[in-house]
């Protein structure tokens, strides 16, 4: 029972960070219909930013979210205005090439600047934990889960209640109709990509104290983000949040009850089952 609880709890906590990565990707896809292959690399930039703020200025990784998020938001808006915007109506393969290229440039720039050495961000609480009913709970992961929950809640409120949020959703539903209703869709695209980058950067900051940082770390998370996004339904924020938790828990359960080497298989079997019985994803609407 302890083992079950332990794996459930650590699965949910890690799933929270996955969810944040997935939400960023799904938001960008929803509004612009672009699959951002550089998403994991944007997250990697966020990790390095957190690392630099911590090692040079001494800002706690969790506090640094307050700096990382706006900076990454600006980077996102910049990338959208200068590059992504030009391929919005281009063929999908051109969009894919652009985002993959962007990712490569980012990871190789980081390699030039920081070398390929692993950076480990060691805070005083990096491996501390507290115990609840016999299972140990990682302190940094708990904090990052709470932050993730707060951000997801805030984002949901923003998208549902505010004017800008509604405009973003309108753009996601039908770009042309939204434009006809007087919504500045270009601006909305910029905001959406900025938010996506900001969320990815935040996820990077939140995972930095418990993970390791190196220039190629992004690819691991780009793949995870895809699975989460498709699982939850492409473009659905709540779907991505649920998808993240599902991936986290099934990895953790798979590792305990089958074998560590098979945990990805568990994730992909669930993924395939969802696609088989609900091709649009858990909360997705059929678009075609």
């Amino acid at each position: 029972m302890t083992i079950f609880l332990q794996s459930l709890i650590s699965g949910i906590l890690v799933g929270g960070v996955y969810a944040l990565i997935g939400i960023g990707l799904t938001l960008v896809f929803g509004v612009m219909r672009i699959i951002n292959f550089a998403h994991g690399d944007i997250m990697m930039v966020g990790m390095y930013l957190t690392y630099m703020l911590f090692s040079m200025v001494g800002i706690d990784p969790f506090l640094s979210v307050l700096i990382t998020f706006p900076l990454m938001y600006l980077l996102g808006v910049f990338l959208q205005k200068v590059l992504i915007n030009r391929v919005l109506d281009a063929l999908p393969q051109n969009q894919i090439l652009l985002t993959i290229g962007l990712g490569l440039i980012m990871s190789n720039t980081m390699m030039l600047a920081f070398t390929s050495d692993y950076k480990i961000l060691s805070t005083t609480y990096s491996s501390s934990s507290f115990s609840v009913g016999g299972s140990s709970i990682s302190q940094p992961l708990t904090i990052s889960f709470l932050i993730t929950a707060a951000i997801t809640g805030g984002l949901y409120w923003f998208l549902v209640k505010t004017n800008t949020g509604q405009a973003i959703r309108a753009t996601a539903q039908d770009r042309e109709a939204a434009q006809l209703m007087g919504i500045n869709v270009k601006r909305m695209s910029g905001i959406a990509f900025g938010l996506g980058a900001g969320l990815a950067g935040t996820a990077g900051a939140l995972i930095a104290p418990t993970y390791y940082i190196f220039p190629q770390v992004g690819s691991v998370f780009t793949l995870k983000a895809f699975v989460i996004t498709v699982l939850g339904g492409m473009g659905s924020v709540v779907g991505a949040a649920i998808g993240g938790i599902i991936v986290g828990v099934s990895e953790s359960m798979g590792a305990v009850y089958i074998s560590s080497g098979w945990k990805d298989v568990v994730v992909y079997v669930i993924f395939l089952l969802v696609l088989l019985f609900k091709p649009a994803g858990l909360l997705g609407k059929s678009r075609m």
Binding site: I3, S116, S127, T210, Y212, G248, S252, S259
Partner: protein
């Protein structure tokens, strides 16, 4: 008369040309496949540093080597195309590398196909030299050796009864885990858990909790550097408390791991080389390495250095002729910073160097050689202290 003058000029020209060419002999081309980008890059860099020092020393000996470097990013398929390029387009005399076991295993048959002498410096999966290949030589010890020295030490300094094995599911990891299991069982240790994980995951807590439930006396781990740190951090989190943590080289022998003193102190790691060995030139090598790169020398660098020295000298002596190099590697004997190197056939191995292993223990962020007693006076600190 005119003919005579031209003859003189020709003679003059020749006499000028001959000593010139004697001073700078045609460089011998050697290929080096390594992982200098991708997840294995930190260790790839160490290997490259070893090559840089070897090139300097070869030059001092009057051997001019043109080293053609190929990066395989740690992927077997890229390693294979690099090998094909080196063997055909660059027509190198021999190849040293690649770093990982998966890559070395993948290109082992290509060496045979293109008839290029291949010298493997650090990849240790035992199967690599168990295929009866005649063009492949390995300086590195095998995973059997990695596991045997650690478990043997634990059995001699403590009284462990059970062991848990955690390994990444790569060629190196699986091979080392298999070796550890076989050695444990033949020495009366009970294997209570075997966990192969896919690397790069941020969460190993559930696996470690499961192992904690078995309460093993020894925990044997096979990982590259980043996962090594995560595993130990999370082992501390879940309170896994064995008598000893045994790391099979690779990540656990890397300075980046040692620096994390909170979790790295008192962890054992098997290694092929430390600067405390009595082999000729080892101490000077360590000193030069520190001065030049401002980093701690580790076995990957020493293995790489010795491999390129052997390949360079042999290739130059054979005038770049592949068949002659192969014969010279097969019959030759060298003595340098890695001790005596000789490629022998034994226990099903072909062209395998019998290399003695050492055990290091991390103390205050530094590696200290603690085993075997023939190399050091230090004693291993056992058992592992309670987590704070």
């Amino acid at each position: 008369m005119r003919v005579n003058r031209i003859g003189w000029l020709l003679a003059l020209g020749l006499s000028l040309a001959v000593p010139g060419s004697a001073q700078a002999p045609k460089p011998v081309k050697i290929g080096a496949i390594n992982s200098t980008s991708g997840a294995e890059a930190p260790i790839g860099e160490t290997i490259n540093n070893g090559y840089i020092l070897a090139l300097e020393d070869l030059k001092k000996k009057g051997i001019n080597v043109e080293l053609i470097r190929e990066d395989d990013t740690g992927k077997p398929q890229i390693s294979m195309s690099a090998m094909e390029k080196l063997a055909t387009r660059d027509s190198v005399a021999g190849v040293v590398g690649p770093y990982t076991s998966a890559c070395a295993n993948a290109i082992s048959r290509l060496a045979e196909k293109y008839r290029v002498p291949l010298l493997v410096p650090v990849a240790s999966k035992e199967d690599i030299t168990r295929q009866g290949l005649t063009w492949l030589f390995r300086l590195s010890a095998t995973t059997d050796d990695y596991a045997a020295i650690l478990i043997d030490m634990a059995l001699k300094v403590g009284k462990p009864k059970s062991i848990a094995i955690i390994n990444e599911n790569t060629d190196f990891g699986t091979s080392a885990a298999k070796s550890a299991k076989a050695f444990s069982e033949s020495h009366g240790l009970k294997v209570v858990a075997e966990e192969a994980y896919a690397k790069g995951s941020p969460d190993y807590r559930s696996t470690l909790t499961k192992i904690k439930g078995q309460n093993p006396d020894l925990v044997f781990m096979v990982s590259y550097v980043a996962d090594g740190i995560l595993l130990m951090r999370q082992a501390r989190e879940v309170g896994l408390q064995p008598q000893a943590f045994l790391g099979a080289g690779a990540g656990f022998g890397n300075p980046a791991f040692a620096k994390e003193t909170d979790i790295s102190n008192n962890v054992f790691s098997s290694t092929q080389w430390t600067e405390e060995v009595t082999w000729p030139g080892a101490k000077e090598f360590a000193k030069r390495y520190r001065e030049k790169f401002n980093k701690e020398p580790v076995y990957h660098a020493a293995n790489a250095y010795a491999s390129l020295m052997i390949m360079g000298e042999t290739a130059a002596k054979a005038g770049g002729d592949r068949e002659k190099i192969r014969a010279a590697l097969d019959s030759g004997k060298w003595n340098g910073i890695m001790g005596e190197v000789k490629f022998q056939d034994y226990d099903g191995y072909t062209n395998q160097n019998k290399h003695p292993m050492l055990v290091e223990q991390i103390r205050n962020g530094k590696f200290e050689t603690v085993w075997p007693a023939t190399f050091t006076k230090n004693k291993p600190f056992y058992p592992f202290p309670k987590w704070k």
